[in-house]
Amino acid sequence: MTDVGENGKREITYLEAVREAMVQEMRRDPEVFLMGEDVGVYGGAFGVSRGLLEEFGPERVRETPISEAAIAGAATGAALMGMRPIAEIMFMDFITISMNQLVNQAAKIRFMFGGKASIPMVVRAPAGSGTGAAAQHCQSLEALFMNVPGIKVVAPSTPYDVKGLLITSIRDNNPVIFMEHKLLYRAKGPVPEDIYSIPLGKAEVKRAGRDLTVVAYSIMVPRALEAAEQLAVEGIELEVVDPRSLKPLDEETIVRSVCKTGRVLIVHESPVTGGVGGEIAAVIADSEAFDYLDAPIRRLAGLNVPIPYNRTLERAAVPQVEDIVTAARALAQEGR
C-alpha cells in the first residue's frame, strides 16, 4: 500500500495514516483501545480499522451494538478511570445521538468536579459531503462542539497532519472530537513511519502568499491550495492557513497572516450561519489585524441547507475549488 513519493519519502493515504496512528499508540500504551460499530472484522464503515482486530484482539478493538449514546458513555466512563478510549462514530451525523454524554458528561466532568478528574478520550468522526449519501450521512458538525467548553475539536487536512494530530489527541487529557473528512481518506502524502505528534492549537501555513489569506481546514485545504495554483497564474498569490485544530485555535498565526496580506477569506464546508467562520472572523476583527484590513473579512461556507442527494445540488451546497477561485479573485480586487 505504501508508495514512495518524488522526494523519496514514504507516501500513504490519509486513511492509512489514521490507522497507523491508532496502531502505534495501541502498541505503545495498553490503556488505548478502539470501540465502535463494525470496527472489528469489517474494519469500520470506511475500512479505517482494518487489520486492528487481528493484532489487538476483540477486547481492545471492541465492536459495539448500534448504540451511540452508550458508545460515548462507555468512552467517557473508561476515560474517567484513566484509560484512553478512541470511540469511532460511524458518521459524524450520528454523533448527535451521543450528544448528552459528550456535552453534559465528558465536557463537564472535569470542571464540575473541581478539576479532580479528567476525560482523556477521542471521538473519531468521519464527516463531510461529496459521497452522495445525502442529508443524514454528510454533515460537518464541528461548530456545535466549538461552543462547548471542555471539548477540543481537530480537523486535519493531510495524511501527515492526521497522523500527528491523532497521536496528540489520543495523548491529550481531554475529550477530543476528531473530524476525518471522508473525501480525504484516499488522499496520499508523505507520512513518516516513526511516531510523531503535532501540537493542538498550532496552525500551519500550507502555502505562503502576499495578496490574500485563505483560512481553511479539512477538505477545504486541498481545495484552497488548488484555487491558489489557478490564481497564481493570474498573478494573485494566496496564503493558505490551516488551523488544523479549531479548538484550541491558533489565533496568532491567523492574525499574523492577515496583518501581512490585508485580506482574508475564511472557507469551510459546514453551514455559514453560526459557523466556525464567524468565530474566526470575530477573532480577526478583535485583533491588531483589523487595522491592516484592506477589505471586509469574507466567508465562503456551506449554504444553510441540508446536504442534498443530487450530485449537482450536493456540489452547489458546499464550496468547490471554482467557488474559492471566484471569491478569492473578487476579494483580491475589492477596494483597490
Binding site: P65, A74, G77, M81, Q105, G115, A117, G150, N174
Partner: protein, 354 residues
C-alpha cells in the same frame, strides 16, 4: 435470589444466577442479616442514615435562611436505598449516582464538612464550589460523582465498569438512578451493552414513585421496573427500598455476582421521597395522605426498631447514634459556612486538563 414477577399469573420467576437462592430473604431478610452483620456495621448503617436525614434537613434550613445559591433535590425518605446499596460494597468499590445524590455521597463515606462546603459553593468543597449540590464527587473515595441530567450516569457507568473489566480489577460499581431514568433511551443502550459484555456493574433504580410530577404508574406500563432486566438477559429484583437490610442483601448479592464476572443486574428499590422534587415543587400531583402513608414507613424508624427488637442495641444507644449524627451535621455546616468562596480569577483553570 434474583426474581421477577410475571404480572399475569403472579408467578415468581427465580433466575438461575449462581448466587445463594432465597427469593423472600431479599425483602424480609432483616432478622437473618442482623445475625450476619457485625454490630459495628449495623451501627454505622444507622449512623449514615441519620446523617443523610439531618444533612438534608440542614440543607433545607440553610436554603430557607437564604444561604444557598442553587436548588437542591432532597432524599429524605430514601435513606435506606443509599445506605443499603453503599454498605453492600467493599471500601474500594465505586458508585456513580444522580442529582438526588447527597445520600449516596454520605453513604459512600464522604467527609460531611467538605460536602456541606460544596453545597454552599465554597472553595474547600469537594468540587471547589464548581459543582454544587447536583455534582458532588469524591473521586479518591470511590464516589465518581452525581450527574444532574436524569439518566446520564448510566452510560458513563458502562465505561467505568468496562475499565474495571479490562484492567482485570476485582472492584465493582453501583450505578444509582431513578424511575424516570429508566424510560430513557440511554438506559436501554447501556443495560444492553453492559449485559453483552458482562460488565461488573449493579444498576440500582431508586423508584421513588415520581419523575418530578410524573407518576411511575403513568410513565410506565409495567408493575416492576426490575422486570426490564428480562430484556437484557440479566437478573432483576424488586426490593423494599425502605428496608435497609433488604437493600443491603440484594445489592450485596448483585455486587458479588458482578465481581464473579457474571455481569450486571438490575435492582429496583421501591421507596418514596417525602419532599418535593426540588424547591419549585408545590406537591400538586400527590395527596397529603399519600405522603403521610409513606412517612409511616420511615426507613430510619423502621431500622431502629429492627435493631432494638433484634437485640443489637437498646433504644438509648440508637438515639445516641441519632444525636451524634445530628451533631456531626451541625458542626459540618458551622465550619463550612466559615470557608472561603472561590475566586473568579482562576475560573477557567479547570475547563481543560493539562
Amino acid at each position: 435470589m434474583f426474581q421477577s414477577r410475571n404480572e399475569e399469573d403472579d408467578v415468581v420467576v427465580v433466575a438461575d444466577v449462581g448466587v445463594k437462592a432465597g427469593s423472600s430473604l431479599a425483602v424480609a431478610g432483616s432478622g437473618r442479616l442482623l445475625d450476619e452483620l457485625p454490630r459495628e456495621k449495623l451501627a454505622w448503617m444507622l449512623q449514615k442514615m441519620c446523617e443523610i436525614r439531618y444533612f438534608e434537613e440542614k440543607a433545607e434550613d440553610l436554603y430557607v435562611r437564604g444561604l444557598v445559591h442553587g436548588t437542591m433535590h432532597l432524599s429524605i425518605g430514601q435513606e435506606a436505598s443509599a445506605v443499603g446499596g453503599a454498605s453492600a460494597l467493599q471500601p474500594d468499590d465505586f458508585v456513580i449516582h444522580h442529582h438526588r445524590g447527597h445520600g449516596h455521597t454520605i453513604a459512600k463515606g464522604a467527609d460531611i464538612t467538605l460536602m456541606m462546603a460544596e453545597f454552599l459553593g465554597k472553595e474547600p468543597g469537594y468540587c471547589r464550589g464548581r459543582g454544587g449540590s447536583m455534582h458532588i464527587a469524591d473521586i479518591p473515595g470511590g464516589n465518581l460523582g452525581a450527574t444532574g441530567v436524569v439518566g446520564s450516569g448510566i452510560p458513563t457507568a458502562v465505561g467505568i465498569a468496562l475499565a474495571l473489566q479490562m484492567r482485570r480489577s476485582e472492584q465493582v460499581l453501583v450505578c444509582f438512578f431513578g424511575d424516570g431514568a429508566s424510560n430513557l433511551g440511554e438506559f436501554h443502550e447501556s443495560l444492553n451493552m453492559a449485559s453483552i459484555w458482562k460488565l461488573p456493574v449493579v444498576f440500582v433504580c431508586e423508584n421513588n414513585q415520581y419523575g418530578m410530577s410524573m407518576s411511575v404508574r403513568r410513565s410506565t406500563n409495567i408493575e416492576h421496573i426490575s422486570t426490564r432486566a428480562v430484556s437484557y438477559g440479566i437478573p432483576g429484583e424488586t426490593v423494599d427500598g425502605n428496608d435497609v437490610l433488604a437493600v443491603h442483601q440484594v445489592v450485596k448479592a448483585a455486587a458479588e455476582y458482578a465481581r464473579s464476572g457474571a455481569g450486571p443486574s438490575l435492582i429496583e428499590n421501591v421507596t418514596y421521597r417525602w419532599r418535593g422534587h426540588s424547591k419549585s415543587d408545590r406537591n400538586l400531583y400527590r395527596t397529603p395522605e399519600e405522603i403521610e402513608s409513606w412517612k409511616e414507613r420511615c426507613p430510619i424508624l423502621r431500622f431502629k426498631q429492627v435493631l432494638v427488637d433484634g437485640g443489637v442495641m437498646d433504644a438509648g444507644e440508637a438515639e445516641a447514634i441519632d444525636r451524634e449524627a445530628r451533631a456531626t451535621v451541625d458542626r459540618a455546616a458551622e465550619e463550612a459556612l466559615t470557608f472561603a468562596e472561590p475566586s473568579p480569577e482562576n475560573i477557567e483553570d479547570e475547563v481543560y486538563a493539562p
